[in-house]
């Protein structure tokens, strides 16, 4: 078999087919940003830790820095650019705007893609690590602030806009924001999760 180092691939991004040659080492993140001019997806760490490059692949959230572009062929890729419907922002985008779910905005595209998946995963009944009773029969607890924080834990925000991010996710999920995100700093913090 002849060794080859590149291939011509067709990526399905935001419902559009885009054909391009790529070196086999190219990550999906670099292909999106450098080759397809979709610079909404951000690179923070290039090693899966920050979540800034989160996109949806076949509806599931994934970090695009740990995905090879060649291996993404044939999958449906959704980036932040693909969420709005014309001028009509996606409800999650709108919630981030309305509730100031960012400061510099660098982490925001990843936060929003992740939030979309959080809302779907929760609706589909997936438990999280904050779910204390993970027995199948226990069901899934409501999307509280703790649940949202845990479910969003793959997305870091260097500006520390977490309080409003949690509120925005709650708003987009249609959860009572008061219950989901109490005004944190003012309240005396209580020790959470003392082992029984």
């Amino acid at each position: 078999m002849a060794q080859s180092t590149s291939s011509v691939i067709t990526l399905n991004v935001n419902g559009e087919k885009r054909t391009l040659p790529v070196d086999h080492r190219t990550t999906l993140l670099d292909a999106l940003r450098e080759r397809l001019d979709l610079t909404g997806t951000k690179k923070g760490c290039d090693q899966g830790q920050c979540g800034a490059c989160t996109v949806l692949i076949d509806g599931r959230r994934a970090v695009s820095c740990l995905q090879l572009a060649v291996a993404a062929e044939g999958r449906e890729i959704t980036t932040i650019e693909g969420l709005a419907d014309g001028d009509q922002l996606h409800p999650v985008q709108q919630a981030f705007l309305d509730l100031d779910g960012f400061q510099c905005g660098y982490c925001t595209p990843g936060q929003i893609c992740s939030a979309l998946a959080v809302i779907e995963e929760h609706a589909a009944g997936w438990p999280s690590a904050a779910t204390t009773d993970v027995r199948p029969e226990a069901g899934v607890p409501p999307l509280t602030a703790d649940e949202i924080r845990e479910r969003m834990s793959g997305n870091l925000c260097r500006c520390g806009a977490y309080v409003s991010i949690v509120q925005a996710v709650a708003r987009a999920a249609g959860v009572e924001t008061a219950q989901a995100a109490p005004a944190l700093p003012q309240q005396g913090r209580t020790e959470e999760g003392t082992a029984a």
């Binding site: 060794q3 979540g51 060649v70 291996a71 438990p127 993970v134 027995r135 834990s153 793959g154």
Partner: protein
């Protein structure tokens, strides 16, 4: 770097036989970090993502045959009843995005002593199904790890699945890290009660060159439970027994000092985790026994 995308398992085995140095890639959460940072320059990459059966599992009478590429998310969602220890361990891996891709096959392939699957697999009891064009080997997971980031796979072999004993009693997993999300374990401990055989099994992570069982601790506890008739009478485990068990678990470890923690801290933490997980699982066992007797 050549990129191979076999469409079937047979093709993948043939490709691995033809290119023994090819690096398999499943979720890519280990391999891609190495490639992005140039820690590894494979001449051939073997993408396993088109092979459907690696993403599937079968629940049998006594074991679950878990396809090598099944991501943690699926295990947590679909198999937490059969494999509670592995589901709990899976919950602590990386972040939701990492758990959507990362797999037990990849964790075994990487064979990091800090891999979170390992303590759960050791405690539950598991065998690795390693396959090549030459045939299939079933490798007890205890024998699978051969050194730091080394396993006993031959160059032409791939992991097809892991056969994990279905839980016959309570299981727990505990991990010490510097924060909740995205941390490599400072050390980790898995424990499974096996009421059917009246045995207890353990797994230690990040505290020796390979994941290990604390066999002396298991033997001590098995004997102590038997002698006091505790499996039958469902009484609490005497504190002296729990303490001795914890000390033996600490003693089984052979940890190092590194940036994540000192050897002494790891030993101490293991003892604490051993005592706690024993308490939790035994409480659950007694609860079940009590309700069974009342019913």
């Amino acid at each position: 770097m050549d990129f191979l995308r076999p469409a079937s398992w047979e093709e993948a085995l043939a490709a691995k036989a033809e290119h023994p140095t090819a690096v398999p890639i499943a979720g890519g959460t280990d391999v891609m970090v190495e490639i992005n940072f140039d820690h590894r320059r494979p001449d051939v990459l073997l993408d396993l993502n088109r092979i459907g059966e690696l993403q599937e599992w079968e629940v049998g009478e006594e074991t679950v045959r878990l396809g090598a590429s099944v991501p943690y998310t699926r295990i947590i969602e679909r198999l937490r009843g059969e494999l509670p220890g592995l589901a709990l361990a899976g919950h602590t891996v990386g972040s939701p995005q990492i758990r959507n891709r990362g797999s037990v096959g990849g964790n075994l392939g990487a064979a990091s002593p800090a891999g979170d699957s390992h303590p759960a697999l050791l405690a539950a009891g598991a065998e690795v199904e390693a396959v090549s064009v030459r045939g299939t080997r079933m490798i007890p997971v205890e024998e699978f790890y051969t050194g730091v980031k080394r396993n006993c796979l031959e160059a032409d072999e791939l992991i097809r699945a892991v056969h994990i004993k279905k839980a016959d009693g309570p299981q727990q997993f505990s991990k010490v890290g510097t924060r909740n999300a995205m941390v490599i374990a400072v050390c980790a401990f898995g424990l499974a009660l096996h009421p059917e055989t009246r045995t207890v099994k353990t797994g230690i992570g990040s505290a020796a060159p390979t994941p290990i069982r604390a066999r002396a601790a298991e033997e001590f506890l098995n004997a102590a439970l038997e002698e006091a008739g505790l499996w039958d009478n469902g009484r609490i485990i005497p504190p002296s027994v729990a303490r001795q068990f914890a000390e033996l678990v600490s003693g089984a470890a052979n940890p190092i000092d590194d940036v994540r923690g000192s050897a002494a801290y790891r030993r101490h933490a293991l003892g604490v985790m051993a005592r706690r997980t024993l308490g939790w699982t035994w409480d659950e066992y007694r609860g079940n026994e009590r309700s069974a007797r009342c019913a």
